[in-house]
Symmetry: C2
Subunit: 501 residues, 2 copies
């Protein structure tokens, strides 16, 4: 690949062209949703194979565009392919449609009981907005796209300006996979558009859902644009959070060093550019806390980061850090190494008293990068008060021992209201792709706390339930027919079973 390629600015689509693509996606929907499940599975798996085939090119191009280290990008490609295969597996197993069947009772008085059968159906064309910080796993063929395609929804993908060439390459993988597995034209479309055109997409009548990963400003702009539609649609914007971590006294007494090591590593990983980066630590005033804070500062001083994803992200981070440094209520706890390379974030940590934190709402905002604020609470009551005032988060962590668990029962109850995922003695970064994951949480972490954007449950963002009443067997979707040919789990007259009827 030549340097010219990097400087090539891909042409941006005009709105009229975008409208044609949306129409094409809508046309594709009716046939795509009716494709037999094995064919849809083939399509997904082929996307993974195509990505694997051009892995070397992908790493080279994405490294240049994002400055992320090669090992990380390699791992992210693996994760992306695993995620695709996980959703193919969900389709293969088949029970995800949530089939519920209540059989008829013609003899019931005073009126006969009808036969009612419910399952999840795909909703229609979905517009996906990828993230800057995951050029693969949360971008073109990332979790949003794949869960929508798995559900049976065509996808229009708005390219992130941070990695356009990577996006073109991955987009071509999906297009090749679609052709090879006989998918309808329009099942997937890469939209290379300006920001305002990208926002306009959510207002189009044929768009039925929106999935976004990125900043609060970006997600809120889409949410507000969608709110002006005459027909409301779901908007799933994952907008990041400060992922508070509570460090309880017995833990700090026994394991200060390991705790500091774990949190410094999590906070500086990937130059701190994770939605789940731990940006706020909450501790109780004590000599052990002082010891921990000094360890944290010392360990942070040893850290160097790599260049940030984009000049804009670097600028926002350094300006944010300057602002924190200028605040009289904060003191510097430690600072990592400076680099002579361009746009390399310097990790930094501050401390603030519980009272000052409670007074200043701006300290609850996210600084995207390797920064953390350590809040030292006067006493347990203030610590719980801090927990109570927190906004919605993707994750909340607690580092604790058995002794701490017994002493802080109230804290754990409060935290259940605050996040999509609660983590004990572990880094919040590293979102496991599995069935039980919730990568979501109350606003402002996301715009819809009922959903997750990671893990198999993410598919339900793009479906709705439909009931069939007194349908003849052959007119029902195969999943609801008496014979249960796919052999899926169904709730029949209140009992889960894989038996036929």
């Amino acid at each position: 690949m030549t340097d010219e390629r990097e400087n090539e600015s891909p042409a941006l689509l005009e709105w009229a062209e975008v409208e044609e693509y949306i129409q094409r996606a809508s046309d594709a929907f009716e046939s795509y949703r009716q494709y037999p499940v094995p064919q849809r599975m083939d399509f997904l798996r082929q996307i993974g194979r195509e990505i694997d085939t051009i892995r070397t090119d992908l790493i080279e191009v994405s490294q240049r565009e994002t400055h992320l280290p090669e090992g990380r990008l390699r791992g992210e490609i693996d994760r992306t392919i695993n995620q695709i295969n996980l959703f193919a597996g969900v389709l293969a197993e088949g029970s995800w449609v949530n089939a519920i069947i209540d059989t008829a009772d013609p003899q019931r008085t005073p009126i006969p009981k009808p036969d009612i059968r419910q399952m999840q159906l795909p909703i229609g064309p979905v517009c996906v907005y990828g993230a800057s910080n995951f050029p693969f796993a949360f971008s073109v063929a990332g979790g949003d796209t794949i869960s929508a395609l798995a559900a049976g929804c065509p996808v229009l993908y708005k390219v992130h300006e941070g990695h356009p060439q990577t996006s073109l390459l991955v987009g071509s993988c999906i297009e090749r996979a679609a052709r090879q597995t006989g998918m309808p034209i329009g099942v997937f479309t890469l939209l290379m558009v300006a920001r305002d055109v990208g926002i306009q997409v959510v207002t189009h009548p044929l768009i039925t859902a929106v999935a976004f990963t990125g900043s609060f400003a970006g997600g809120k702009a889409l949410y507000d644009a969608a709110a002006k539609r005459s027909v409301p649609i779901p908007v799933y914007a994952e907008m990041g959070s400060i992922n508070p971590v509570f460090l309880l006294p017995d833990r700090l007494k026994l394991h200060a060093e390991a705790t500091a090591t774990g949190l410094v590593a999590s906070n500086t990983l990937g130059a701190g550019q994770f939605c789940t980066n731990p940006g706020l630590m909450v501790l109780l005033q004590s000599p052990d806390t002082e010891h921990f804070l000094s360890l944290y500062g010392k360990q942070l001083a040893e850290q160097t980061c790599h260049a940030m994803l984009t000049p804009g992200i670097y600028r926002a981070y350094t300006m944010g850090v300057e602002r924190l440094k200028s605040m009289g209520t904060l003191s510097l706890l430690g600072e990592g190494k400076k680099s002579e390379l361009a746009e390399v974030a310097v990790p930094v940590a501050f401390r603030v008293s519980g009272s000052d934190f409670l007074r200043d709402k701006t300290l609850r905002e996210e600084y995207f990068g390797p920064a953390s604020i350590h809040v030292v609470a006067d006493d347990e009551a203030q610590l719980v008060e801090i927990a109570n005032v927190l906004d919605g988060q993707l994750t909340v962590g607690v580092w604790c021992t058995d002794v701490d668990i017994d002493s802080f029962r109230v804290l754990f109850r409060v935290l259940e209201h605050k996040a999509g995922r609660l983590v004990i003695n572990g880094a919040p970064t590293g979102v496991e792709v599995c069935h039980a994951m919730v990568h979501g949480g109350p606003f402002p972490a996301t715009t819809d706390a009922r959903s997750t954007s990671v893990g198999t449950q993410a598919i339900y963002r793009f479906t709705r339930p439909v009931s069939y009443q007194n349908y003849p067997d052959r007119l029902l979707p195969i999943e609801l027919r008496n014979g249960n040919q796919p052999g899926i789990w169904r709730k029949v007259d209140g009992e889960l079973t894989r038996k036929s009827i």
Copy 2:
């Protein structure tokens, strides 16, 4: 009961008082959600028993307030109690929390796999707005209130002005049940407020969800008010629909009489005051269709209705019918008997050509009452076009034979996009309360097509998923602990099982 009682206007609460009640509900939330399941079940079942105890009073008062026939009200009370017991049964069985467990694998490379466990948790105080047409099943102790209470959410119930005395009586049943079963103060609050104060409730920061059943104007007003919140919340407004019914040719050839009888009965039931009332019939031009329409007109002429629910509803209905009568594109198909009593709706049916229907969007609006419009399409293509232009509906019906099913495959596919419930050869009225029911559908039938307001799945309107990562067993909710003491179905490492871990 004396006549004075009827004329007593219950005092309306001021906003400051309402705010106190909301705060009280929010305070109740934390303790209510932690009550052991058997106690929450007792609370629900006791509500049913309290209603049953004052059944005679309830029928007397509600009959005076709503003009609904005694038999109907008796049946509705039965349904309301059954519904309460159904949700108590859901709690007793316990699997509704949707427990998903992915166990740890510390040996996994390159990084150990964490233990992740997910379940549904209640979201907080819910505001419920009851319907005029169901003084019991969709009012104070109706499906919205009971599913929210079952989920673990306190409820604030905004009284419908159509039946305030009935609401006070049912409200006192819930309050007595709460006291008797030791529920926290604030678990349920009856809000007797003016319309504007009622709307203001959805903007309160402590309200976490809204459930409404009623008109498009009413639901949209709440939806728009909620859209102005700084923290978005789910708004579940069920706003009714015209419930189109497609009458296919072979069915009309073989069963014209029975079809007419079934549809006339469904359209005039309860003076047509059902969300699922069939207001639009779509037919193909043919001699059989002419025969059916003449039968429909004749049968309708035999019908009398009872007084409508409120003077306002009667006024809106008669004005709507006058408007339809004045339209040059519509012809009168038949009209029911007039009554000398006040506010009695006269059933009416019109016919219109497919082309005229397609040209005039106002014919797709709901006329709440026993009116129907019969659209006669020129040919199958036009019939499918009519299906395509339909707005979202609660139900869509098809009356057909096996021959019709084979001839109209495309129609059935189109209709799957249009409604929450699809009904073959049956009246859309009569919403079975069961596991598989979807009483919902695409906008404007509701504001959230992902939900149902009837049946056990209604509980998920008031929950969100939370993941616990690497939690010690004893700190987990009982449903997620290794032992599976409640014996519920859980998805463990991808497999549904009731076994312990």
